[in-house]
Amino acid sequence: MKRLIAVIAFALTSVASAQNVILIRDATILTVSHGKIEHGSVLIRGTKIAAVGPNDQITAPANAQIINASGKFVLPGIVDTHSHTAIEGGVNEISLPNTGMVRIRDVINNEDIDAYRELAGGTTTALMLHGSANSIGGQCQIAKWKWARPASEWIVEDAPRTIKFALGENPKSSNFRPPPGIPLQYPATRMGVEEVIRKSFLDARDYMAKWDDYDARKKRGENPIPPRRDLLMEEIADIVRGNVDVHSHCYRADEILMLLNLSDELGFKIRELQHVLEGYKVAKDIAAHGVGGGTFIDWWGYKAEAYDAIPYNVALMERAGVLTSVNSDSDELARRLNLDAAKAMKYGGLTEEEALRLCTLNPATQLRLDKRIGSIDVGKDADLAIWNGHPFSTYSRVDTTFIEGQIYFDRQRDLQLRKDLAKEKADRLKKEADEAAKEKKEKKPEDKND
């Protein structure tokens, strides 16, 4: 049995080797950055894309493993900037209005099968976020779905640090109440949410001043008592210093403007507005602040603040100059973000390449990882998927998904493994049933004596 497990582990994560050279041949390459290459090839060397171009311009080195992808499509790995997949022990730390000290990287669950299912939908990178119960929710984590690898390897270590803010109904607890005996949570209004964020920045300034004073006195040769190191204040101070990117959950136009103004007032940069269903109303202001928007194409109406939404939001924001992406907020939707991107061609008439970018290069840019992922370009991480048809067709599906040159999902292998795994499960259940029956039998004579 142990051998079988070893085989499975091996099958799921082809062992990394320095000499990993793979040539994907004769596919339609959707580079996303520089157009479509019919009958094209992608050469992967190690963890990176070594070459991309028409078949005749890319030659396979002698040691290359060749994947014939005639008639298939290659798309960069899909990037989801709003994921709650693979988070253990609660997505919300609901107890306080500001929980900027909590970190998603501490609670990654590398056994969440949803991550594997998302790989099967071509998704390779995600911004893992907490829920939106707090005005400041905590430190998010940019991760790659390196299924069957330790959680520490999922973390993209040199990715920007990120934090989630949230506005509106959730942080003001509009739709849920603490149980009896627990007082209502501050804030209860949108004004209060703004104030929680503002106060936090003002507190962080005091905190920084305290440490500056300590450092100065130390420099003068004094022996001052060190101030407390406060994990929450450290994080907010790092936003002020520009070391942490802000991603903020929001719905309504008024609160979006509020946050843009607040960022001007307090001097922080918002990298991406999340959900942003009314972004189309204030797209110019969002664009003027250089802020991105990650939204749903046709998902709304699930609460009062999510009513005034339109499927043209994506196209309108994009046309107004907002760097826009479609993201999931859902383990299920994260498996088919390609289709949400496709709908932006219907609603608002984005070009094919613009629409493709909505789930690849644009979210990669929002995460400030566009130098590494999001398109098929030489030197980028070999994060990509081979599709059996154009990713914008509902009939297409992923055959193989690569992250950094390694195969993390392969449809054929998955189908083969199913039989083995079903057998292992049946065997194991039978073993348990047999043991239980034996135990019962042994117990019986005793019962009679009683």
Partner: protein, 534 residues
């Protein structure tokens, strides 16, 4: 014949153990002696005097003043050590609702002293061991325990106790034994109520303790010109932990949880022990390389009782619960000295849990080491305990068959050189461990605007937390943030519909075998009620 000898003789004659006031001089003869530090002695002799072991061997002269205890064919062991229990503490944290709790909740940074426990909580001072607790434990051959509350996050300072007759101070072997830390989220809406919050909280308190030490070091050297730092018993209690004088026991079952504990320990340069370690089979080599002492809980995961539930489980869980009991064998193969402990398990399941490890490849000799000399070493009490060796504490257990054999019975127990009472058969039968009234499977109906939703919840109390599983109309999974104070039940589930996922927080009142109350959800507050299924 001395009076004592006469008494002993009579005692043996009537099969009534003698409970002498003072530890005397005894010679155990004729038994199969298992010294642990040396090979077994077929017809061995153990002499104990004034609470200590005086001699062990095949040809040891029997002192004239010794009471001879003839144990023909029986087995003699050093008393077993159970290095992770919460004996003498309530199974769950006391209720902490009310005005004080509400005020504490609003603080941005909760103090190191939570209402349930704190680093300054001294198990030795707070413990309330009942005779039942102690005697049931002895009946399994355990003469020494480490104990601390299982609830809270910083569970406090654990203590190593001998389970002899007498009061707590006379029982103490090592105090404090360790500072104990558990990754227990607090009730919903009380910081920290999520796992990520618990990790942040532990780190913050350790940072505060570092600052506290630094501040006091400066101030104590020369207070002139400094604002006096506040006093804080909890942060002070963490000083020895930061200085590596006292180890931290991290209660961590899964691989992921162990890695969280290791990350914290590395960041703060702590001396630490991992306890639980149910998934140790996965990375024994790493534990070996990093030389991490481990306590493996023999409370093995069990299959759901319902066949449908079993069939629906993913292979990952089934595989894990079958491989968990191989952990001790895998560790032993890697040359790791570990302890087998009851952890969150019941006293009566300790030996059967060890037997399961033996069934899964652990040798009986290693099993014995894992409840004697190995835990003694890890706890730093191996000069006093863990083997039958001259100069060690006279904790001696006599069994009729090899101790891990299914039919084996503990016949006599000597602790600190005194014979200690074992429960009689009648007492043993009566002492089926009380289960909490909330334990069991509940069929709940939630009245939502879309109609009634049936949810089946299976609840149990362990490690100071209400835990369990749910299934039915809103998906299935583990419950979170469970609490039970005797009447009020609270827990959260992640409710799934086709449209969305949201947290449902149940808050109910228990009456006999019914629960009634409310469910707080993002879509409003609903009524629910239900009863226990038979």
């Amino acid at each position: 014949m001395s009076v004592r000898r006469l008494l002993c003789f009579l005692a043996v004659l009537f099969a009534l153990p003698a409970f002498a006031d003072a530890p005397g001089v005894y010679a155990f003869t004729g038994g199969i002696v298992h010294p642990v530090n040396a090979p077994e002695i077929a017809n061995g002799i153990v002499i104990i005097r004034d609470g200590l072991i005086e001699a062990v061997g095949a040809n040891v002269p029997i002192p004239a003043d010794a009471a001879v205890i003839d144990l023909e064919g029986e087995h003699v062991y050093p008393g077993l050590i159970d290095a992770q229990t919460s004996l003498g503490f309530p199974s769950a944290a006391p209720p902490r609702r009310g005005r004080g709790a509400a005020a504490a909740r609003q603080q941005q940074t909760p103090p190191p002293a939570l209402p349930e426990t704190s680093p300054a909580f001294v198990a030795m001072r707070e413990i309330k061991l009942s005779d039942d607790d102690v005697e049931s434990k002895r009946a399994t051959g355990v003469t020494t325990i480490l104990t601390a509350p299982a609830f809270g996050i910083f569970n406090g300072q654990s203590v190593v106790l001998n389970l002899g007759e007498g009061d707590t101070p006379s029982r103490v072997v090592r105090d404090p034994a360790a500072q104990q830390v558990s990754f227990n989220p607090r009730p919903a809406w009380t910081y920290p109520d999520s796992l990520m919050g618990v990790v942040a909280y532990i780190k913050q308190i350790l940072l505060d303790a570092q600052q506290y030490s630094a501040a006091h070091a400066i101030y104590d050297r020369n207070p002139s010109g400094y604002r006096r730092p506040d006093d804080n018993a909890s942060l002070q209690a963490l000083g020895p932990v930061l200085r590596r004088e006292v180890p931290v026991v991290f209660v961590a079952d899964s691989e992921a949880m162990m890695r969280r504990a290791e990350a914290i320990a590395r960041e703060f340069n702590l001396r630490y022990i991992l306890s639980g370690v149910r998934q140790g089979y996965r990375f024994a080599d790493e534990l070996k390389t990093n030389n991490i002492p481990v306590f493996v809980s023999v409370k093995w995961p069990i299959a759901p009782t319902n066949k449908d539930d079993r069939d629906e489980q993913p292979l990952r869980l089934i595989r894990d619960r079958q491989l968990a009991p191989t952990t001790p064998a895998v560790l032993a193969k890697n040359g790791i000295a570990f302890a087998l402990v009851s952890g969150a398990g019941k006293t009566s399941d300790f030996i059967s849990g060890i037997r399961k490890a033996i069934d899964n490849g652990l040798s009986a000799d290693d099993a014995l080491r894992a409840v004697t000399i190995w835990p003694a070493r890890i706890l730093g009490v191996d000069r006093q305990l863990g083997s039958l060796e001259k100069g060690k504490i006279a904790n001696v257990v006599v069994t009729d068959k090899p101790i891990f054999v299914k039919e084996a019975k503990v016949k006599r127990v000597f602790i600190d050189g005194r014979e200690s009472k074992l429960p009689t058969e009648d007492e043993r039968a009566k002492r089926t461990e009380a289960t909490s009234p909330v334990e069991g499977t509940w069929n709940l109906t939630v009245k939502t605007p879309q109609g009634d939703v049936s949810i089946i919840v299976t609840l149990h109390v362990e490690s100071g937390q209400l835990s369990g599983t749910f299934s039915g109309g809103r998906g299935s999974g583990n419950i979170r943030n469970g609490t039970f104070d005797g009447t009020t039940v609270e827990f959260a589930i992640t409710a799934q519909t086709q449209a969305e996922t949201s947290d449902w927080l149940f808050h109910g009142t228990l009456r006999d075998s019914t629960i009634e109350g409310t469910v707080s959800t993002t879509a409003g507050t609903f009524q629910f009620s239900g009863s226990k299924s038979r």
